[in-house]
């Protein structure tokens, strides 16, 4: 079992502690329903409810052309200044992925 200390002297032991390290940092959040968020983490709890600031939501819509049956993938972006996200929709949390 590995337990490290962070800059405040609190031990980092479990996954939620890793999220604590990301407070006041921009994070990437993958949600159910083909949605992704990028924003600054201001608050979270053990259910992974979160408050993110200066968020960009990317919602990926896949349409199938009825004639050619090809997939038309359209990402739709939205900017929201301050957002509460309910934890039960969250799949993963990470530092921002470079795109």
């Amino acid at each position: 079992l590995c337990s490290m200390s962070d800059s405040l002297g609190s031990t980092v032991e479990e996954p939620l502690d890793l999220i604590r390290l990301s407070l006041d940092e921009v994070i990437y959040v993958k949600l159910r329903g083909h949605r992704e968020l990028r924003g600054k983490l201001h608050a979270y709890d053990q259910h992974l409810n979160m408050i993110l600031g200066d968020v960009t939501e990317t919602h990926t819509v896949v349409e199938i052309d009825e004639e050619t049956f090809e997939e038309i993938i359209t990402p739709v972006k939205r900017d929201i200044p301050m957002l509460f996200v309910r934890g039960d929709g969250i799949i993963l949390v990470a530092p921002p992925i470079r795109t």
């Binding site: 405040l8 609190s10 201001h42 053990q46 409810n49 600031g53 957002l83 509460f84 309910r86 039960d88």
Partner: protein
């Protein structure tokens, strides 16, 4: 109880609730409980042409579990207090889980 306290500070303010069924409702936050169920007053459905079935509804109760996002006024959010509260909340949740 972090987000319960957070929503209590927003009572009386206008919020926009986005539900998991894609319905978006703007209204004045009137009440919140420990499950983050919400009561809104004087609601207005965004995109009314698409979702006309609430045109006569003035007040509503929303079960917390059906919420995807809550758009909150950024000016009303004390981000530094939220971050400190998250660190404390995470520590307490960890300690109560260990017992």
């Amino acid at each position: 109880m972090l987000f319960y306290s957070f929503f209590k500070t927003l009572i009386g303010h206008t919020v926009v609730i986005e539900l998991k069924n894609d319905l978006t409702i703007e209204g004045t936050l009137y009440a919140v409980d420990q499950f983050l169920n919400l009561k809104l007053r004087d609601i207005k459905v965004r995109d009314e042409e698409k979702y006309p079935h609430m045109m006569c509804v003035k007040n509503c109760f929303i079960r917390g579990s059906v919420v995807r996002y809550v758009h909150v006024p950024a000016s009303h959010v004390a981000t530094d207090l939220l971050q400190d509260a998250s660190r404390t909340e995470a520590k307490h949740a960890k300690e109560s889980n260990k017992q």
